[in-house]
């Protein structure tokens, strides 16, 4: 029963969303190639999965996201730690970080495709860039939020620098870091798509372009969007699960 209670609001809102969508289509009388009704999209999605249209593109995009997130979050943890513990580093680096974050990735993507080619590398770079900022800031805030009294405890127990990081700073910073990763992982999806638009062979972003420009198959376009959204939600939930595993018990 508890299970139903927890999932009921989500189920209800999903149904409501579909109903509103259908209503909009019916009332506006828009053609299928402008705004397809939900059943057309779902049917096209099912067909695309069955025919194996979506899978290779989805796999390509997922691998870009995975690598990009790994590189971006990994470097963000390191740089975030550096920024947290070194005022000099923070003063030197943070203006550039903010500037980099403000520059729209859509503008940088073609440049990066030029420099890194149209293979996996440029997508990984773009994803990593887009993931970097939220995770770095979250790491920095998290590390800084470690209670000074715990650090004094560490000193009284002669903890080495690494031990302080591993046993005191990192666990204390985990809630913040994981929060940053939740944001980062959804941004990584955007990064992958934008990276593909700047030049790629395969991927859900390419499928969007194909559906729209070559096939003029708008239900497929929407089905691809649904797939992308599902991937984003799935990744977000994955981070949530990791979060519960790591910090659920003691929070």
């Amino acid at each position: 029963m508890r299970l139903i209670r927890r999932w009921l609001p989500i189920a209800v809102s999903a149904v409501a969303f579909l109903v509103v969508w259908k209503l909009v289509v019916v009332v506006s009388g828009l053609a299928v190639y402008i705004l397809p009704p939900p059943e057309a999209v779902l049917e096209r999605l099912a067909r695309a999965i069955a025919q194996g249209t979506i899978a290779p593109h989805a796999m390509a995009t997922l691998s870009e996201i995975a690598w990009g997130f790994l590189v971006g979050a990994g470097s963000a943890l390191a740089i975030g730690y550096l920024l947290a513990r070194s005022t000099l580093a923070e003063k030197l680096l943070s203006p550039y970080l903010v500037a980099a974050q403000a520059t729209p990735i859509l503008a940088l993507a073609p440049l990066l495709a030029l420099w890194f080619g149209t293979g996996l590398l440029s997508k990984v770079v773009i994803c990593a860039l887009i993931v970097f900022f939220p995770v770095a800031v979250a790491t920095m805030i998290g590390i800084r939020s470690v209670d000074a009294r715990l650090l004094e405890l560490g000193r009284s127990l002669r903890a080495t620098r690494w031990q302080v990081f591993r046993h005191l700073e990192l666990p204390a910073a985990l809630p913040s870091i994981l929060g940053g990763m939740r944001v980062g992982v959804t941004l990584a999806v955007i990064g992958a798509i934008v990276g593909e638009w700047a030049g790629a062979d395969r991927g859900l972003g390419i499928l969007i372009l194909l559906a729209q420009g070559s096939l003029f198959d708008i239900p497929l376009l929407f089905a691809t969007l649904v797939t992308i959204a599902a991937i984003g939600v799935g990744l977000y939930l994955a981070v949530l699960v990791v979060e519960r595993q790591l910090i659920g018990k003691w929070r």
Binding site: S94, V137, M140, R149, W250
Partner: protein, 309 residues
């Protein structure tokens, strides 16, 4: 594997062994100042030429007005701070840094929220590189010592304040230290619990024979627990008096009724003495108490305007 294990004396948890009454702690003319909190570059002298000794296996309580540097004194002995001048020795060896021979219990339990109680108690051993089985064994016996065996796998947030402080004491005993320093460890507990914990502390002391230095605000607590009570003056502090506590051991609730008990307490109160105005002046001069709420919020990063901004 750290070599810290060899520094700690191989002393099993057993009966107190006070046959060698060497000075466990010796302070000689220790001074310490801090930059003034007003930020005007002035130096605030907190401790002024403190000299005293604590015998091996003794229980000494330190009382004094707010801001008299009791906590600073404890940190000096614990090796977290260095004196400006003078010397500090523990077990005949000069103190230069934090030492496993000295266990510290702070005012707050300071347990790591992400570790179970058992893991928290084993934490010092883990840092020192002690192997898993030995760690677990020690942790079990320490849990038993402070009566927390059923809570070995509970997380700190599931424990009451008193239980957490017990765990903190157990943790301080992890390396089987020869000296245990406690900085107002029970001040966050209510009076009844406090009395009980005083008795429990003595119980632990009976079984381990560790030298104990207890900083406290509570004169009744000091008298009940200690062999001697050192009374500090207001800042810059020196020792006003050393009051021996003539109460026999073991001490229990009947001790509280003894005239010697109230007499000693009055004596200490007298030494602390001074009029209300002096006390008020002391309060005003005292460094601001660091409240938990002071730490709310983190300084903004990338803030070119600075904290005053």
């Amino acid at each position: 594997m750290a070599s810290l294990c060899s520094v700690a004396p191989a002393r099993p948890l057993g009966k107190a062994d006070r046959s060698h009454r060497l000075a466990a702690i010796r302070l000689d003319n220790v001074t310490r100042s801090f930059p003034s909190p007003a930020g005007d570059g002035e130096k605030l002298m907190v401790l002024d030429g403190l000299t005293f000794e604590v015998g091996d296996g003794e229980v000494v309580a330190i009382v004094g007005p707010n801001g008299s540097g009791k906590s600073t004194l404890l940190r000096l002995i614990g090796g977290l701070l260095a004196p400006d001048s003078g010397s500090i020795e523990v077990g005949g060896v000069a103190v230069s840094e934090a030492d496993p021979r000295v266990g510290l219990v702070f005012q707050e339990p300071r347990l790591l929220p992400w570790r179970t109680t058992g893991a928290n108690i084993a934490f010092p051993l883990e840092l020192a590189g002690v192997e898993r089985t030995e760690r677990d064994r020690r942790s079990s016996s320490l849990l038993d010592l402070v009566g927390l065996t059923e809570f070995a796998r509970a997380y700190p947030r599931e424990l009451s304040g008193g239980m957490r402080q017990r765990a903190a004491i157990a943790r301080a005993l992890a390396h089987d230290p020869s000296v245990l320093l406690l900085d107002e460890p029970f001040s966050a507990l209510d009076a009844l619990t406090r009395e009980r914990f005083n008795a429990e502390l003595l119980d632990v002391w009976q079984r381990t024979g560790t030298t104990i230095v207890l900083v406290t605000h509570s004169i009744p607590e000091a008298v009940f627990v200690a062999d001697r009570v050192l009374v500090l003056s207001a800042r810059p502090s020196h020792i006003v008096a050393e009051v021996a506590v003539p109460l026999p051991r073991p001490r229990n609730s009947e001790t509280l009724d003894s005239p010697l008990y109230s007499g000693t307490a009055s004596l200490i109160r007298a030494h602390l003495g001074g009029t209300r105005e002096e006390h008020a002046a002391d309060e005003a001069r005292a460094a601001p108490v660091r409240d938990v709420l002071d730490r709310v919020g983190t300084r903004a990063w990338f803030d070119p305007f600075g904290p005053r901004g």
